[in-house]
């Protein structure tokens, strides 16, 4: 039995990828948790598809229906925040003005294809802003559990579920590992504490190359 990271610790590890001055869009679900772990001394601008740049922590106090993130959660505003309409919001996204998007994933292929909007088992799902974010963000990080409930690997040679976008994923952060997507394939760079590289490989469909600098995640 391999014990992987909690959802919070996956989010914490993703947050380590973010740097001062970056414009970042956090997808619905696990990625939303990343906002709890942003480096306190660095200014990172969170973008929400519904038309906010520079929102702050989620707050249930003084709920304002006109001040929500893309997941419908009430958020606060940081100094320097701005509002804009949806056409401007997606011009920002498609036009390459968002440095990093963090999205959840159902499957990622070794070529960096992402499937995250439709779950065939349930026969349901919606596209929302995911396709535009996947195509438009300068860097795409996928945060997900390494395997689906039941143990099916989410990192696959090819995605079986309908794609969100092809060849777009740059980095995969899971409860077991950090994996970079390169033109020559997947590169295992970090493993979760107590997890062996072989444990990661046995739960991953394609072969992972191991980085010479492969190390344990620092959390």
């Amino acid at each position: 039995m391999v014990q992987g990271l909690s959802r919070e610790l996956i989010a914490l590890r993703v947050a380590r990828e973010l740097r001062e001055g970056m414009v970042v869009n956090l997808g619905i679900g696990l990625p939303t948790l990343v906002s709890n772990f942003l480096p306190p001394d660095e200014q990172i601008l969170l973008q929400a598809e519904d038309g906010i740049l520079g929102y702050g922590p989620i707050s249930e106090a003084d709920f304002d229906p006109d001040l929500i993130n893309a997941g419908g959660q009430p958020v606060t505003l940081l100094p320097g925040a701005s509002f804009f309409d949806s056409a401007a919001s997606f011009a920002m996204i498609r036009g390459g003005h968002v440095d990093v998007a963090v999205l959840g994933g159902l499957e990622v292929s070794e070529r960096g294809d992402l499937a995250n909007w439709y779950l065939p088992d349930r026969g349901g799902g919606s596209i929302g802003g995911a396709m535009d974010l996947a195509c438009g963000a300068r860097r795409l990080i996928v945060a997900m559990t390494h395997t689906a409930p039941g143990g099916r690997p989410r990192i696959r040679r090819s995605c079986e579920y309908p794609l969100t976008a092809a060849g777009v994923v740059d980095l995969i952060v899971t409860d077991l590992a950090v994996i970079e997507v390169h033109p020559e394939g997947l590169l295992l760079t970090e493993v979760a504490p107590g997890v062996a590289p072989d444990d990661v490989q046995s739960r991953t469909e394609p072969v992972l190359r191991r980085s010479p600098a492969l190390r344990e995640m620092e959390l």
Partner: protein
């Protein structure tokens, strides 16, 4: 004297016919024209095609499924991958009682923008290599493939703003903008629900988010407190 003010949301919808195509502004709870949607529910108009970012997610639109007023819906988010909770819309969709077209959100808003701006279509990378590509023309520009996406218009747009004057100038508030100013340009009849109606000039021209030229009717309503519980 130009006066676009209507006394009630029901009056503002007086000529909305069966079979109409209607855009609804709003993103989940933000900027959603709940009073106009409730008036449409009371009106009982049937065989409608709805166009909105979402339905059944912290919005009032699911009430239009109570008496099956919708024949078709165009949205970016309507069916959840997680089975936690189903909307009426989702139940009707799964029974084949209502048609759904899912559109990526950036493409959705840009199609509406094109529809309102006299643009015959636009090219986007979004959707290339996915089911969104099916049936669409792929255009290669400088070696990069794009999808040709076509404009979207409606007979009516029901939108929400913060304030209006009788000329139809609208001021928005916070993330309540979202699709509202874009949809205001892309329908034959544009009806805005607002929290306050003020005298012309009280909205600083610098703060007008939608110029009155786009707006046909305004109606003052108490905001409906809605909140998505996930």
């Amino acid at each position: 004297m130009i006066d676009k003010v209507f006394p009630t949301p029901d009056d503002a919808l007086h000529d909305l016919p069966d079979g109409a195509t209607i855009m609804f502004g709003g993103f989940v709870s933000a900027g959603s024209p709940s009073n106009l949607i409730l008036a449409l529910r009371r009106r009982g108009t049937k065989r409608l095609t709805g166009i909105a970012n979402n339905i059944g997610l912290g919005d009032m639109l699911d009430v239009l499924c109570e008496e099956r007023q919708l024949a078709k819906f165009i949205a970016t988010f309507a069916i959840r991958a997680s089975g936690a909770r189903s909307s009426r819309f989702e139940e009707q969709y799964r029974r084949g009682e209502v048609e759904l077209a899912l559109v990526p959100q950036g493409t959705f808003v840009e199609r509406i923008r094109a529809g309102g701006a006299g643009i015959g279509g636009f090219l986007t990378r979004t959707g290339i290599g996915t089911v969104v590509e099916e049936g669409k023309q792929v255009v290669s520009v400088s070696g990069v493939d794009y999808l040709l996406e076509l404009p979207l218009r409606a007979d009516f747009a029901l939108i929400k703003a913060y304030r209006a004057d009788r000329l139809g100038n609208l001021q928005y508030r916070r993330a309540g903008r979202n699709f509202n100013p874009v949809m205001a340009t892309a329908a034959d009849v544009v009806i805005a629900e607002v929290q306050e109606i003020v005298e012309p000039g009280e909205i600083d021209p610098e703060d007008v988010g939608t110029p009155g030229v786009y707006v046909d009717r305004v109606v003052r309503c108490e905001p409906v407190p809605i909140r998505w519980q996930g």
